[in-house]
């Protein structure tokens, strides 16, 4: 479901499922906990492959944020139009830093310590 890659800017977690919905929300939350546990600094959730997120999926992404330690950061990249709409409607686009692409997210923090 998730693939993790370490970059200098932080950990990239790429979602390999096309839909984060009621069928997989709980698994997603659990897998995110495993992927982010003990990782220091910034985590980028790469959503380029995700076509659809429903309210359960949105809740699971929020839960993943809440599972982090206070000094860990979670940012989102490459939201598809439907996913972006869900975040915008619920105002969750104000809660997460959102980047157009993974590349622009990594570039932004390329020289960050």
């Amino acid at each position: 479901m998730l693939e993790s890659t370490e970059k200098s800017a932080g950990l990239v977690v790429t979602v390999m499922e096309p839909r984060i919905d009621a069928s997989v929300a709980i698994q997603f939350k659990d897998k995110m906990r495993e992927a982010t546990n003990g990782v220091s600094g910034r985590i980028f959730l790469d959503l380029h492959g995700v076509e659809f997120v429903d309210s359960s999926g949105l809740g699971a992404i929020v839960a993943a944020l809440k599972q982090l330690e206070a000094d860990q950061k979670l940012e989102l990249a490459a939201l598809s139009p439907t996913v972006a709409k869900v975040f915008r409607l619920t105002r969750m686009d104000k809660v997460f830093p959102i980047h157009d692409s993974l590349e622009s997210a990594l570039d932004r923090y390329a020289n960050a310590s």
């Binding site: 839909r19 919905d21 009621a22 069928s23 659809f52 429903d54 309210s55 359960s56 949105l58 809740g59 699971a60 929020v62 839960a63 944020l65 809440k66 206070a70 139009p81 439907t82 709409k85 869900v86 409607l89 619920t90 105002r91 969750m92 104000k94 809660v95």
Partner: protein
Amino acid sequence: MTAMQTHHEPNEGDTLLDIEPKPRGRHNVLIELQASNETVRETLIEIRTKLAHHGYSEDFLQDCGIVLAELLNNIVEHAYQDTGEGVIELTLDMHPGALNVVVRDQGVPMPHGRLPEKKQADIDVERLDLPEGGFGWFMIYELVDRLSYSFEDGCNVVSLVISASQDA
């Protein structure tokens, strides 16, 4: 088990697109589906294809996808209490610029016998206090033109209209 049944004898491997709708007019579709998360997912994907073939815009398809997902998920989780069992009956009535939807189930009635209030989850809170739910009905209210609920003959009936002129 096939994801959907209509009132036509389905052949092995039939999908919604292969099955002719009931003879009420070629712009009406009646779908019966089992109330499980997986079946809902398959149904939503097939409905999107059907709506796309009907010529609706991408923006409209997104809105329909969001509304239908939330409606059907609600039935799975609340009306049928996450048992994965129960039948949902979904009627789609396709007009240029609008989709009329009627969803029926025989599960638990809505609390207080009416639709939940439209309530935006409060996000101006500390990280640990962020809401993880309560988004679904809010999005439905935001995207539909009309919405009503009744409980008739043991069935929950939700009717709504999604119109293409809706700004989201």
